[in-house]
């Protein structure tokens, strides 16, 4: 037996989300997490509503990634402080791994992100990465859209070294990699090309002294300093979340990358690309790769999606219907 999903009016819900109403945000995020059939439908309607009222370049979506314990959550907390002082409203999606045995998870990032309880300008939702292919759950990206409708800055924190970052970098405007001083891993990954080059690199815990400085210079050398996409020069920064140093500079750099995207008019194009990627992933999830083949293969689907100016969610529904009809 499946419990009927609560009936939410997508128009009203989208409006409330846009007004930043916390209860509505929570409800919208729950809905996007909900795997029941009708909920999926309602979710599509909600996203369509949200998209309808927007140009598509709202907010700044930042991915924060790096090895466990590097201080991603602590840095996020420190950045929240800076952003709030600058009058920006902040949403955070924090992704933690879940247990392969029970499916259970400990969502521990909030602990380090504790902010003033009464601040309506901050909203944190934790997510368990539920062991899906490619690392991140498919829910993360649509959730980030809901967050973007309500907040100026949206941060996605994910654990990752190597393959996993690619995931987050394929849905965010700006990807920031946090390196742990003294750990050669990040350098190795960069050299081997496993680590897709992020837009901003930061060595946290500079309060540790020499070991942090060494990692900083190693990363600088390994990087060659040029990001793969476009003419963005990847900065390597140094900061300490606990001492509160280098945080303003980090916030500035992240903002600069966001601004560069807007100015070079690449933001919309990039976001459209991510949407197509997500859609592909969703279809793959539901119909397998032979489903995609039936639609003419990955490239064809992506091209088709990028070209159309339809609501993404209408496209999703349309493609689903096509595949369902042939099954």
């Amino acid at each position: 037996m499946t419990q009927p999903a609560p009936n939410l009016d997508p128009v009203a819900l989208a409006a409330a989300v846009r007004r930043g109403e916390r209860a509505a945000l929570a409800r919208a995020l729950n809905l996007l997490d909900d795997r029941r059939g009708e909920s999926r439908l309602q979710a599509s309607l909600l996203l369509k509503q949200l998209q309808a009222g927007q140009a598509g370049d709202e907010g700044h979506l930042i991915g924060m990634t790096g090895p466990p314990g590097a201080g991603k959550s602590s840095l996020t907390a420190a950045l929240i402080g800076v952003w709030r002082r600058r009058g920006l409203r902040v949403g955070v999606l924090a992704v933690d791994p879940s247990s392969p045995v029970s499916g259970g998870a400990l969502l521990g990032d909030r602990l380090r992100m504790k902010t003033s309880a009464e601040d309506d300008g901050v909203f944190i939702r934790s997510l368990a990465c539920r062991g899906e292919f490619g690392g991140l759950s498919a829910e993360v990206w649509p959730m980030s859209l809901v967050m973007l409708a309500a907040f100026d800055v949206v941060m996605i924190e994910t654990v990752g070294v190597g393959q996993r970052e690619i995931d987050v970098s394929r849905m965010c405007d700006t990807t920031c990699f946090v390196a742990q001083p003294g750990s050669g891993d990040s350098v190795q990954f960069l050299k081997a090309g496993i680590l897709e080059v992020p837009h901003v690199l930061v060595v946290n815990k500079e309060d540790m002294g020499a070991v942090a400085r060494r990692t900083l210079s190693e990363l600088g050398t390994a990087l060659g300093r040029v990001h793969t996409d476009g003419d963005w020069e990847v900065p390597v920064l140094s900061a300490s979340a606990t001492a509160g140093t280098g945080i303003e500079a980090l916030a500035d750099t992240l903002a600069m990358h966001g601004k560069a995207l807007v100015e070079s008019k690449r933001l919309l194009e990039r976001r459209r690309g991510y949407r197509a990627q997500w859609l592909l992933k969703r279809l793959q999830e539901e119909f397998g790769s032979h489903g995609i083949d039936q639609l003419g293969g990955e490239q064809a689907v992506l091209q088709q999606l990028a070209a159309q100016d339809l609501s993404l969610f209408e496209q999703h529904q349309a493609l689903r219907q096509r595949l369902l009809a042939t099954h």
């Binding site: 419990q3 999903a5 916390r22 209860a23 945000l25 795997r35 045995v101 998870a105 521990g108 944190i124």
Partner: protein, 666 residues
């Protein structure tokens, strides 16, 4: 030798850990206890005093005077020791993050009594590192905390030479699940961290350093396995002696002696058939008295009703009498060491030493105790041990009479009275304390207060010893909250690792667990997404064991768990529950403030439009209060009687199901 001429050893110091409601009420209690033959004082402070808040701070609501005495300023401290001459008293203060402040108040009161502070005798617990691991009343990050600890030690060694400036505690570690080996390893690693810090601070000339080592005392635990515990104490003595000699070069044998006080184990004291706790307490006391060469200097015992609530004066008297019977009626104090030369005892001691040394090496490898705490390593190790203990109780492998065997019982007359056998806190005390505090503030010379606080800040920033400006603050009429706030601003606040991110030793094979997992999964599917549980610790309560165990178990059962550690406000909990989209809020409250806190959380939930979230609670909740909570909309109340964790999880699933219109699972 005839009976009459037998030379008996002097008994240990007998203490009762106490304090409640107000300084005046506690003073009356102390004087009564001293009249009953108690030979020292052991002061319990309330949680606001321990965590650096004034009685009228919002976080103090419901906590003032509850688990100890509230001390807001010198007036309170003076009232606490009214007609108790401080030069004749040995006072132990269980105080940590605010230890320099409470000692400053004690010194200032001595001055007012006309007592030379250098004559004072007593103890400040002053071991913040174990607060991060177990006790929970830390405020600042570890590095500035160690500095404050160091300042107090350096100050007393030079100015109050008979003071025990720190009591390195393994007691609380055992209460958080530590094994004897872990107790040894972490307490001694803490001692190293503190002594090294004192040495490196340069406040004590090298030739005086042995005096510092000689002033270090310990506060340990003794559990029900009393033979092993005796061995643990002998191991402690041997390891400490060796460390003092080899690491710190202490030549004088007296300065290398392992001096310790004890509170016997409370974690194993039960709510069911509470009279059995008396046997447990007495047996545990044997562990720290039988072996003369490893005998405690001071003992305090919990009462039979430990797991029910706070003890009444009669309950404490009973606990004191246990000590007196052992010391005065038995022949224990007539003999030399009973165990010297026993190969059985020696082998066990060696086993414990080897285990502890190996664990100490692991801590040292990580850079020492501070680093091993910051990284979460030590806390995780403790949670693992406690999880193991809970599993063994649940499976029946670890027998606890009256809990998982021999449960049938006749009605107990001990709990039949109108007070249900526990102390009822004085509800008026909080209001009176707040009124008195506000009057005190209004009557001070504000300029003197402001300048004393500025000097405190200057010392905190500049690195000068914190004690002199703290004593000046005490004289000036600064409050506990003001002293702490200045240091909070300078040092920042800290949240310790929760330790629940342990690898789960898969419980495959347990049919009960499999069934619970299936229920969790199925319910998640029916509701469209995995079940989410927020575990909240509201208020100043630091008892985290229950919350940690429920969190670990919950994850194992397949819940997504949101747990942010201790000391959250009702508003933080309500908002986190909403932001995280949880299906259920589970509170854990052992401080006795459950009624106020639940009321506040329900109000916050309503305020933010989340009033429909179901709420449950666990902890030390007397039956009457449980009924009141259930009538007020709380869905379930769990207490220490509920040791079957699978059954708890199954209940949680059903509460979520019913709340969402699904039928209950069998």
């Amino acid at each position: 030798m005839s009976q009459d001429t037998v030379k008996r050893d002097r008994p240990w110091l007998m203490r009762t850990y106490s304090g409640h409601s107000s300084a005046k009420a506690s003073n009356e209690l102390y004087r009564m206890n001293l009249g009953k033959g108690q030979t020292g004082l052991s002061v319990a402070f309330d949680l606001p005093t321990q965590t650096g808040y004034d009685s009228d701070h919002p976080l103090a609501r419901g906590e003032v005077g509850k688990v100890g005495v509230p001390i807001d300023h010198i007036g309170d401290m003076e009232a606490l020791f009214d007609a108790i001459p401080l030069d004749k008293m040995n006072t132990s203060m269980t105080i940590n993050a605010t230890a320099p402040w409470l000692l400053a108040l004690y010194v200032a009161v001595a001055e007012r009594q006309g007592v030379d502070p250098s004559a004072l005798e007593g103890t400040t617990q002053n071991d913040v590192l174990k607060e991060y691991l177990s006790r929970g009343t830390y405020i600042f990050p570890p590095t500035p905390s160690v500095r404050l600890t160091t300042d107090l030690i350096a100050y007393t060694v030079e100015n109050i030479p008979r003071w025990n400036p720190t009591n390195i505690c393994s007691y609380h570690l055992q209460e958080a699940g530590a094994t004897p080996t872990q107790e040894l390893a972490y307490a001694l690693s803490t001692a190293i961290a503190i002594l090294d810090a004192v040495r490196d601070s340069g406040q004590i000339p090298p030739e005086r350093f042995a005096a510092v080592v000689g002033r270090i005392s310990f506060f340990v635990n003794a559990g029900i396995r009393f033979v092993e515990e005796t061995c643990k104490l002998r191991a402690f003595g041997a390891m400490w002696e060796k460390m003092a000699k080899e690491r710190y070069g202490v030549e004088d044998e007296k300065q290398r002696r392992f001096r310790y006080g004890v509170q016997v184990n409370s974690l194993g004291l039960t709510e069911s058939q509470p009279e059995n706790n008396v046997q447990r307490i007495v047996l545990e006391m044997l562990a720290v008295t039988l072996s003369k060469n490893a005998r405690a200097r001071a003992i305090q015992l919990p009462a039979w009703n430990e797991a029910l609530g706070l003890p009444r004066p009669w309950d404490q008297q009973w606990a004191l009498r246990m000590q007196q019977v052992l010391a005065l009626e038995t022949d224990l104090l007539e003999y030399g060491d009973l165990f010297d030369g026993s190969p059985v005892i020696e082998a066990k001691v060696q086993e414990l030493v080897a285990g502890a040394e190996a664990e100490m090496a692991r801590v040292a490898e990580q850079g020492g105790m501070v680093q091993a705490i910051e990284s979460g390593y030590v806390k995780r190790e403790l949670v693992v041990s406690h999880t193991r203990r809970m599993r063994d109780i649940e499976s029946g492998e670890l027998k606890i009479v009256g809990v998982n065997c021999y449960r049938e019982t006749a009605e107990s007359p001990l709990t039949a009275g109108a007070d249900a056998g526990i102390m009822k806190a004085d509800v008026q005390a909080e209001r009176d304390q707040i009124a008195a505090l506000q009057a005190f503030r209004a009557g001070r010379d504000q300029a003197v207060v402001a300048s004393a606080l500025e000097q405190l800040r200057a010392a905190a920033v500049g690195g000068a010893n914190i004690m002199p400006p703290s004593i000046a603050c005490a004289r000036a009429g600064v409050t506990t909250g003001e002293w702490s706030e200045v240091l909070r601003e300078v040092f920042g606040e800290y949240r310790a690792p929760t330790g629940i991110d342990i690898a789960l030793a898969g419980q495959a094979g347990s049919a009960a667990m499999d069934q619970v997992r299936a229920g969790v999964r199925r319910t998640g599917e029916e509701l469209g997404r995995p079940l989410r549980l927020l575990i909240g610790k509201p208020g100043l309560d630091g008892h985290s064991n229950g919350a940690e165990q429920i969190a670990v178990k919950g994850r194992d059962a397949g819940f997504e768990i949101v747990y942010e550690g201790i000391r959250l406000t009702p508003s933080q909990i309500a908002r986190a529950a909403q932001e995280e989209g949880v299906h259920l809020i589970g509170l854990s409250v052992l401080s006795g403030s459950h009624l106020e806190l639940v009321e506040d959380i329900q109000a916050e939930l309503k305020k933010i439009g989340a009033g429909d979230l179901p709420l449950i609670i666990g902890g030390i909740i007397p039956d009457d209060d449980a009924r009141q909570l259930l009538a007020g909309g709380v869905q379930a109340v769990f207490t220490p009687k509920d040791v079957d964790m699978n059954a708890i999880m199954a209940r949680l699933v059903n509460i979520i199901r019913l709340h969402n219109g699904l039928e209950e699972l069998a």
